[in-house]
């Protein structure tokens, strides 16, 4: 192991120290011993991820082009694009796509705004900030599935606490059947998801805010910029990259996140709250992995396209 070279790591905040000779080790010729040493440390992780993640992912992508049902494993012929055609011919597919967009946009915009606000409020140290964070970040410890169940109970049309609170506040006279009406049900699952996801944005944005040098903000204040202007012209531009990447990661993640819907409505009423990935569960529970995988590949395609456009748009704006 001693033959291994250390990597130069220039990005560590380490003033006072001369930078490591960049590229020294990476330019060194590849030797067998060095390679074996690295492999020994990496092997367990690689083996696990290769066997239990990448192999099934690739195998599953192949299933998208097969007729493949769990209850008919002897008969799995290749069928070309038939699974994709079946999906595209199904009107529910388009509803589900539309709902995915509503789900992603409707969740992420409020999450970002509330998360940003909270991060601003938490930036300055105060007594019990640690305790506050430990309490306010608790949704993170809970699975989306269970959050779905909690909100299903709160949004219950008869005995739900939300109806009760709204009636007490004088906002409604009769109980609303939140989860029985398609539009209201979609609204309700989005509310639950907003509640669940604010924590993530708060944590990320708070960390980014803490990376803004105080001098920068003070300089702005000296130049007579008010708080709002400091925020928009100094702070936000400084953390722009983190913000935009956090949003991107979150879009991908929320698009792929069916657990709240699964626990809260199961996609109902009448399949009206399904997003693509929760709809996929229908196929897997019927054992039809061919269709499920085809749908999965469509999701990957959509996300790859979205990510490319998003990153391209960022580059364009930066170039201008």
């Amino acid at each position: 192991m001693a033959v291994l070279d250390r990597a130069p790591r220039g990005h560590r905040p380490n003033p006072g120290r001369t930078p490591a000779p960049v590229g020294r080790s990476s330019k060194r010729p590849f030797t067998v011993r060095r390679g074996l040493g690295l492999l020994g440390f990496l092997a367990p992780a690689l083996v696990f991820v290769a066997i239990f993640t990448y192999y099934p992912l690739l195998k599953g992508s192949q299933m998208a082009f097969q007729q493949w049902n769990l209850f008919d494993l002897r008969n799995t012929p290749f069928v070309g694009l038939a699974n994709f055609r079946t999906l595209l011919a199904n009107p529910t597919f388009y509803t589900v796509l539309e709902h995915s967009v509503v789900w992603v946009v409707g969740s992420i915009v409020p999450q970002l705004l509330i998360g940003f606000g909270l991060a601003l409020l938490l930036r300055r140290h105060f007594r019990f900030r640690g305790v506050y964070q430990a309490l306010a970040f608790f949704p993170w410890a809970v699975s989306g599935f269970l959050i779905g169940i909690l909100f299903r109970w709160m949004f219950n049309g008869e005995f739900g606490v939300i109806n009760d609170l709204l009636r007490k506040a004088g906002l409604i006279d009769t109980n609303i059947a939140w989860l029985a009406d398609p539009t209201l049900a979609m609204f309700s699952v989005v509310v639950a998801n907003v509640w669940y996801g604010v924590t993530f944005f708060t944590i990320m944005i708070l960390a980014a805010l803490q990376s803004v040098p105080d001098e920068l903000i003070e300089a702005g204040a000296l130049d007579g910029a008010g708080k709002v202007r400091t925020l928009f012209f100094i702070v936000i531009p400084f953390i722009r990259t983190t913000l935009l990447l956090t949003v991107l990661l979150r879009v991908i993640w929320v698009f792929n996140f069916p657990e709240i819907i699964y626990g809260m409505t199961g996609g109902g009423p009448a399949e009206q709250t399904h997003i693509v990935t929760s709809w996929m569960i229908n196929f897997t529970s019927q054992g039809d992995y061919g269709l499920a995988s085809a749908l999965g590949l469509i999701v990957v395609g959509v996300l790859v396209l979205f990510t490319s456009f998003y990153l391209l748009a960022l580059r364009e704006r930066d170039a201008r």
Binding site: R9, P56, M63, A134, L150, T284
Partner: protein, 278 residues
Amino acid sequence: MIGTTSVPTKVLRAVLLGLWLVITLFPLYWILVTSFKDPGSIAAFPLRYLPQPWSLANYVSLFENAQFGTYMRNSLLVSLTAAAAATLISLLSAYTLARFEFRGKGALLMAFLITQMIPAFIALGPLYVMMVDLQLVDRLGGLVLLYVAMCIPFCTIMLRGFFENVPDALEEAAMVDGCSRLSALFRVIVPVMTPGIMAAFIFNFVNCWNELFLSVTLMNSDANKTIPTALNGFISSFNIEWGPMAAAAVLTIVPTMVMFALASRWIVEGLTSGAVKG
């Protein structure tokens, strides 16, 4: 947010923070209250915001009518084992990725990141067939293997961030003193990184504890069910019994919530270090 903070600003800030805390904690409060209500008073008007009378009936029925004790034991066993194994394995890979430059490193990190972004359902069918072939369906051990693989990518990325905060002079000194790299890692670096490693372990544990779809697919006998699989059974029944359901939810949430609260500082640090630095 800058300069002097006036009293009204302070008050406003406290009010807003308090409001959000109430909104955040309300679902937890409500499920707690529900779980301690007498079964007869759960669906009774007017809704009561405190149990009247307090009752443990829902918890009792959970352990008597459902094998909730077994499910908890299974979840605990699987999550502890998988989280410990994944943390240990990730420690090695994270260390390598933090300290060495080699060809394909970027690709490797990308391969780990991608696993976090692909809908996992694509892998579900092949995994099931694979576990049938390995005769690991409906075995806790099989679930452990899958969970280890599930945890490794993110845990590696998280731990790598912590390693980069530890000066390499530390293990160099140990190696000059005659330690091998492996023993330098475990004798010198790991003790310094204990909070970070605990955070990674807790993060893994919580992810395994909460995992739903793999366990629903693989575990079919009652004796081997984990908590999420059991909850899935509860909500799939035509008439959900909200009393025992609430009690089950509380028993599922509380352990992970306590762990998260204790380690929240380091978990936050681990989650954000990569994003902000990189």
